[in-house]
Symmetry: C2
Subunit: 153 residues, 2 copies
């Protein structure tokens, strides 16, 4: 199977993925390890908070977005990782048994100035629940190998 | 123990935390679940990549930052979560057995316009390895309860 290269990420191209179900057990297990704030750990404690009930950590949502984008297109691309993330917005709570979908849009593609075998692709990620309410948006650039660039191909 | 409230986060205040060791098993387990790109999963595959060897997923680093900040001050504060993240920069690879430390600086504190019991605190997080090389920076605002604001106190 031919991998996607920098040249394949034309601005406007869209990748759709999902649904991916998230369970109460996953939400609580993640929180216990990485984000043990009461509203991510315990339904009773969460009820009186701004979230109004148990909700996944925003960082857990980022991890799921990474996995969903990996399964959507990243593992089938000449990805070389990312220098960081430009912006994350947590827009609505993610609840136990939500069915999440991911829409990824190519925003911009530019060659690397220092490495002719590499290009940057800026993506806009939007995650939705089953009611198609956006729960998170995220903007980040990935480094991609360029076609015919030898080692990166 | 009296919780930290919005009023306690004066610009310039610094919280230090760590070290927190990260193991090869943790790096690989995280990658297998959330970011199964070869350079986070397999030392041999990683050797020929830009990372030059096995390195933690940047998202794993974010999760560790969340946990370290929780143990540093968030769990002892009237945190109400965050609307998102302004910027993440992954500056250097995190390797198996790295000893990570976290320095958190209060950048800005402003009251909520819509909720008199809530304020926003903008933090600059810097994560270092044992050689004091910065491996990640992150900027995000947290919502904090204000002192004497009843339910949030």
């Amino acid at each position: 199977m031919s991998k996607l290269h920098w040249e394949d990420f034309e601005p406007g191209r869209v990748f759709e993925y999902g649904p991916r179900r998230i369970t109460r057990d996953e939400i609580v297990a993640y929180a216990a390890e990485f984000d043990p704030q009461p509203f991510h750990l315990d339904a009773d404690a969460a009820r009186t908070t701004m979230l109004g009930g148990l909700a996944a950590s925003g960082w857990h949502a980022c991890c799921l977005l990474m996995r969903m984008s990996a399964d959507s297109f990243v593992l089938n691309a000449s990805s070389m990782g990312a220098p960081g993330v430009d912006e994350v917005r947590w827009l609505a709570p993610i609840r136990p048994d939500d069915e999440l979908t991911l829409r990824t849009t190519v925003v911009e593609a530019r060659p690397s100035r220092s490495r002719p075998d590499v290009g940057f692709v800026k993506f806009r990620f939007e995650m939705f629940n089953a009611a198609h309410v956006p729960v998170m948006t995220l903007t980040a650039s990935l480094m991609m190998g360029r076609r015919g660039a030898g080692a990166a191909a």
